[in-house]
């Protein structure tokens, strides 16, 4: 075991949990602070509550230098987003302005709420969609040197108040498609409101949110919007989406966590059509305030659980987060899930936002990082009473912002302690956040994990609303082994989004899938990271490419990154 001196951590903590997280943004050259937008003056009395999202982070190796970079969004009109290029020496440098990805929040175009990366034209470099409360923008990556705006060519809509987007190849045709989820209706310019009737028409059954878009990649940089014809019709208030093959069909299904309502589960019927089966699958039954959708094989059973974050405030609104575990023998037709968040100990997370699974201590089991906290303003005065007052009102009352009591600088579930849950692998997660160094109280929103140092450990980056971007550098017990895979599609989309990797070792297995966006407005390192504990060898790794092609590699070497191209 490494000593405390060598690892810069606390010896007792390091020994007990096998890792320690040190916030090192400033030391790494990251000095980003998110700024909220100023919306229409009609919303002034609840401005901070309405403008409470927009801090987002995504991870990408945009220049293919082998080091993972960080893109982070800002939300003040005229503010700049940042692209922190990983210099490979523990330092980052903001190059957003140099490559053309900084000045994307010009007044009149809306402001950023997130970004997702995917190589939509299969040229080997990750392109980026910046979604906004405003005009979504698609930028083509020109060889890692510069980005060219291609929004019009791609036929994206003029205005979407979006809070989620993901890349995925829903029809496995080798070209990445794009899902974009609206929160506020798309006909609202939040800076120039004609009405104050813009709020949800119910706290848990709202149906007046933004529409959903599914852009089918036609090739040549053009996209066709096909959501309606493929069966995705929803006006719920989407905050998070994730795609994965939950049912073993070879096609990615789509899970959407909605604020003010139930989650939706769109099963993919052979890449031809989607069908919403949330109720049948068990995930669309109890309405809550879904704000996150992340996926992980938490029990090493070769199947994905889905983590949805919600709101829990003592005695006022105790929704509890959901950990949707596939049922044994679940029907392939719809899938079937059961919520085991309570049993696993990951239910209560305050006003929860972004979360990600990742093996933080390389012990062979996926851990869970959850950020939280909604509005940290006056510590001594709470908005909860007034919030609950309006939340119970009839739609004619709740949907009109003019009826909402003024915030007046009060907090709403602010200054909350974060959660880092360590998975014991046999059915229980233990919160170790305070012990391993995660002690910030910012209003966390977006969480992403990546091996920034190419050291075989997952670091954590967190975007905070009206707060700094945090980089938690991880130090892990070096006696635990690991293995990483970087996939590149050839027949499949080149980003390999949707590729499944199943690693077998010591009689165990773990399934992971390359993702085009997960959590809350976030995207992890596209490389897949597996911790292996004390295992001295892995038996084999099985890869199922989106094209359907299967590949097996026997006894892959441990403690290294494997770069694998899809066989032609």
């Amino acid at each position: 075991m490494a000593s405390a001196r060598a690892d810069g951590g606390n010896t007792a903590t390091f020994g007990r949990y096998g890792f320690h997280l040190d916030e090192s943004a400033k030391a790494s050259g990251i000095d980003f602070v998110h700024i909220e937008p100023t919306l229409d003056v009609k919303l002034e009395h609840i401005m901070t509550e309405v403008a409470s999202m927009g801090a987002a982070v995504s991870v990408v190796d945009f220049d293919r230098d082998g080091w993972q970079d960080i893109y982070v969004t800002n939300s003040r009109e005229g503010s700049h987003n940042a692209l922190y290029r990983n210099l490979g020496n523990g330092k980052f440098r903001d190059v957003a302005a140099e490559v053309g990805l900084a000045d994307v929040n010009q007044p009149g175009t809306g402001v950023s709420t997130g970004a997702v990366w995917g190589d939509y034209d299969n040229d080997g470099f990750e392109d980026v969609l910046i979604y906004k409360w405003g005009k979504p923008e698609l930028f083509h990556n020109d060889g890692g040197k510069h980005f060219t705006r291609v929004t019009e060519q791609a036929c994206l809509p003029n205005w979407v108040n979006a809070d989620t987007a993901i890349w995925f190849d829903y029809d496995n045709d080798g070209k990445l498609d794009l899902f974009l989820g609206g929160y506020y209706p798309e006909n609202l310019d939040l800076w120039h409101l004609k009405t104050t009737k813009i709020m949800p028409n119910s706290f848990e059954y709202a149906s007046n949110g933004g529409r959903k878009y599914l852009f089918h990649n036609l090739g040549g940089g053009r996209f066709e919007e096909v959501s309606h014809q493929l069966g995705i019709d929803s006006r719920r208030w989407a905050l998070a989406a994730v795609a994965a093959d939950f049912r073993g069909t070879g096609y990615p299904d789509l899970f959407i966590a909605n604020d003010y309502g139930v989650s939706e589960f769109f099963i993919n019927e052979g890449g031809k059509r989607f069908r919403e089966v949330g109720k049948e699958a068990g995930v669309g039954y109890a309405p809550k305030s879904g704000m996150n959708a992340s996926v992980g094989d938490i029990l090493n059973q070769g199947r994905f659980a889905i983590y949805v974050s919600n709101i829990s405030e003592d005695s006022v609104l105790v929704q509890g987060n959901n950990l949707w575990m596939p049922k044994d023998g679940a029907p392939t037709a719809t899938g079937a899930f059961v919520n085991i968040a309570n049993e696993m100990g990951v239910e209560m997370g305050g006003w929860s936002f972004g979360a990600q699974f990742g093996d933080l201590n390389n012990d062979g089991f996926l851990d869970l990082y959850l950020s939280n906290g909604f509005l940290s303003l006056d510590r001594d005065r709470s908005y909860w009473y007034d919030y609950s007052k309006i939340a119970g009102g009839n739609e004619a009352i709740i949907s009109d912002a003019a009826n909402w009591p003024p915030l007046k600088g009060r907090s709403l579930s602010g200054y909350q302690k974060k959660h880092v849950w360590v998975n014991d692998g046999v059915g229980e997660f233990t919160d170790v956040a305070q012990s391993v160094g995660v002690t910030d109280l910012y209003d966390g929103r977006s969480v992403a994990m990546a091996d920034f140092g190419n050291r075989g450990v997952l670091d954590v980056v967190v975007a905070n609303q009206k707060g700094p971007l945090l980089l938690y550098k991880n130090t892990v017990d070096p006696s635990n082994h690991w293995i990483e895979f970087e996939l590149e599609g050839q027949r499949s989309n080149r980003s390999a989004i949707g590729a499944q990797v199943r690693l077998f070792w010591n009689g165990a297995q773990q399934l992971q899938e390359v993702s085009g966006g997960s959590g809350f407005c976030a995207q992890n390192d596209r490389r897949l990271h597996f911790g292996l504990g004390k295992a001295s060898a892995a038996d084999r790794v099985e890869i199922r490419w989106p094209s359907g092609q299967k590949q097996t590699i026997q006894a892959p070497e441990l403690d290294r990154l494997h770069k694998i191209k899809e066989p032609i």
Binding site: S202, E204, Y205, Y285, S388, G392, N394, I398, N403
Partner: protein, 283 residues
Amino acid sequence: MPDSASAAVKSVPIAPKQPSAAARFLSVDNRYLPPILITCILLVSQLSYGVLESFSRTALAIATAMLFECVLGRVVYGKIPNLASAYITGISVGILLRSPAFWPYALCSAIAITSKYVIRWRGRHLWNPSNFAISAMLLLAPEFVSTLMIQWGNNIWPMLVVWMLGVVIVYRVKRLHITMTYVLSFIALSALRSMITGHAFLAEVAPITGPMYQLFIFFMITDPKTTVKPRWAQCLVVFLVAVAEMILRLAQNVHAPYYALTIVGPAAMAIEIARSPRKPAKA
């Protein structure tokens, strides 16, 4: 929720002649009317909007309430009482209590029924069982429970359905004046709160448009076993509940209606019991 069944049955006149089938249908024994109607409310709201945390949690609340009623009735009075009251208590706990866990539903029902048998004065219980139990849960286990505060759906129809059914119930059991006094008091005091806080009147009146209040005004504050007897006193007490609630609301208490009834209801009952002559002890 109410114990209205046993009290209400006394008010049903004996029919002088054989009624028609329709009349028989409309004259369902009052003892069973509240449980039938609250079941209808539960099913309609659940099947249309899925208002419950889950059927299983509500079933647990009902089963626990009925089990405790059976056991305590047998132990204390030597017989198993009519279970209509316990059934309503269980349903109300199942609807009004919100928790992702199961045990709060069982515990809340257990507290509700036990309170009827334990917290008594001169043979009468003071607190509405479900009101007392929910208030206790909010105080004892705030990290695990909350109460229903959101709308059922996003339109006015569920509320109208509850209103229609609720009016039938309270009219049949001759307690509509209690409900109406409270509603008018709440609206008037909302206007007063609006003047004090500067918030929109609609914001202040918003809570009473929610489903929780429909159950509160039709089932909880009208409970015959825990309301005073004179008609004028019933109106006065429920007005005072509304005043206490206003004071709690001005203090930004999220659970103002529950606590207001918990405070005012037993106080009124205690005054009435204290003022009433003691019954001579049975030989």
